[in-house]
């Protein structure tokens, strides 16, 4: 009804609370962090990414330390995956990057196993040791093929 300082205060409070809700959703839950130049960038080349997406998590021993920044095709037709990581990490140059699946049918993510070399990776370096993603269908296909060949040999070996 009447305009009053109390009312203005209440409105201000409402706007603050609302913006805080938006901020919480965006930052805490949505995870607008690990972004841009503050992250520590490394790249690696895989033969197969198996459905890895950008913003997929990068994990060391099960703990999230960063995410996939981008994936593009390198000149030799391999997948160049750029990782953005927590700047406090110290990773040896013989660190391995593997693309793993969470669960049997879950999302792909990148798991890093730090090596033992005293020399450390610098920002912009490439991780040399990689294990590409395992594609379930190919594995099954190989298994079936091997079984058939085994049966075939067994038959022909009569």
């Amino acid at each position: 009804m009447q305009r009053s300082p109390t009312r203005d205060f209440v409105v201000g409070l409402f706007v603050l609370v609302g913006l805080a809700a938006v901020a919480y959703l965006s930052l805490s839950i949505g995870g607008v962090s690990y972004n841009g130049p503050k992250g520590f960038l490394l790249s690696c080349k895989f033969d197969e990414t198996g459905g890895l997406k950008s913003r997929s998590p990068v994990v060391i021993s099960g703990v999230k330390v960063g995410e996939v920044a981008s994936i593009d095709l390198s000149d030799d037709y391999r997948a160049r995956v750029t990782l953005t990581l927590d700047p406090v990490l110290k990773l040896p140059i013989d660190t391995t990057a593997s693309i793993v699946t969470s669960g049997l049918l879950g999302d792909r993510y990148v798991s890093l196993q730090p090596g033992g070399d005293p020399q450390l990776l610098k920002p912009g370096d490439e991780i040399e040791f990689v294990e590409s993603a395992v594609i379930l269908e190919r594995m099954l296909g190989k298994l079936i093929h091997n079984t058939d060949v085994g049966n075939g040999n067994a038959k022909s070996g009569q």
């Binding site: 305009r3 009312r7 203005d8 209440v10 409105v11 409402f14 706007v15 609370v17 609302g18 913006l19 809700a21 938006v22 919480y24 959703l25 965006s26 805490s28 839950i29 949505g30 995870g31 607008v32 913003r55 998590p57």
Partner: protein, 258 residues
């Protein structure tokens, strides 16, 4: 048979005419937004009427919807041994769809209809003509602050609805069903990312704010100057806004790729 077709034709033409009028009305609001004097006081008044007074409804319904999602989600997920993903399910459903859409529908019912009734009554009692005779543009003084406040308020209320919903899901999942609270929150954080989910959600809320703001003020402004006119206008606001929200939900979802 022929008259049916003719009637449809006329209805179609009138609909297009109406869209044209609404477009001009919207343009009027647009130009009024940048024209001085900037009516901060009126804008704040409307933020109060549309936003603050909708808080209770939003918080209550948000918690309730979140709790239902928690309940339904848990019962289904537990069959696949995936109850740990409850946080993700509740959060994504709320953020992507239920938050913006339900908030918009609730706000339409409460604040949208109130806006239409208020403006409509001003038409009937000649207050808008009174403003014109005092050389004050009613669109600038009455309509624009209301429309702008609606656009500003919607994303804020939607975010609050979502948070209360996540809390409601938490109450069910953790307190009642015994899930681990850390897992609830972590599965939520892992599943949700800003560009796809949260940004899309806020964008939807803003779009709905524009829709409801325009429809509610337009219907009020064009009320027939009779007492029956006001109730007819209010009803049509709720109906048209609700349908538009759901239609545009599809459009934004498809375009944004959420």
């Amino acid at each position: 048979m022929v008259t049916l077709v003719a009637d449809l034709g006329w209805a179609g033409l009138r609909f297009v005419e109406e869209l044209g009028r609404m477009a001009r009305f919207t343009a009027g609001i647009g130009s009024a937004t940048v024209r001085r004097p900037i009516r901060i006081g009126r804008f704040v008044d409307e933020l109060f009427k549309l936003g603050v007074l909708s808080l209770i409804i939003i918080c209550l319904c948000g918690t309730a919807v979140g709790a239902v999602l928690g309940l339904q989600g848990y019962n289904t997920l537990v069959r696949f041994g995936a109850a740990d993903s409850l946080g993700a399910v509740v959060g994504l459903a709320l953020i992507r769809e239920l938050g913006p859409v339900l908030t918009a529908l609730l706000v339409t019912g409460r604040a949208g209809s109130a806006t239409t009734a208020e403006i409509g009554t001003m038409v009937v009692t000649e207050q808008l003509d009174g403003l014109r005779m005092m050389s004050v543009d009613p669109v600038h003084y009455v309509v624009t602050p209301k429309a702008l406040a609606m656009i500003a308020v919607m994303p804020l209320l939607s975010a609050l609805f979502i948070l209360f919903g996540i809390f409601g899901g938490y109450l069910i999942g953790v307190r009642v069903m015994g899930l681990d609270p850390g897992i609830y929150l972590t599965s939520l954080q892992d599943a949700v990312d800003f560009p796809n989910d949260v940004a899309g959600s806020l964008l939807k809320a803003a779009v709905f704010g524009v829709l409801v703001g325009l429809i509610a003020t337009y219907r009020g402004y064009t009320t027939a100057p009779t007492s029956a006119g006001v109730s007819a206008a209010t009803t049509s606001t709720v109906v048209i806004a609700s349908v538009s929200i759901l239609l545009f939900d599809y459009v934004v979802t498809a375009l944004w790729g959420v």
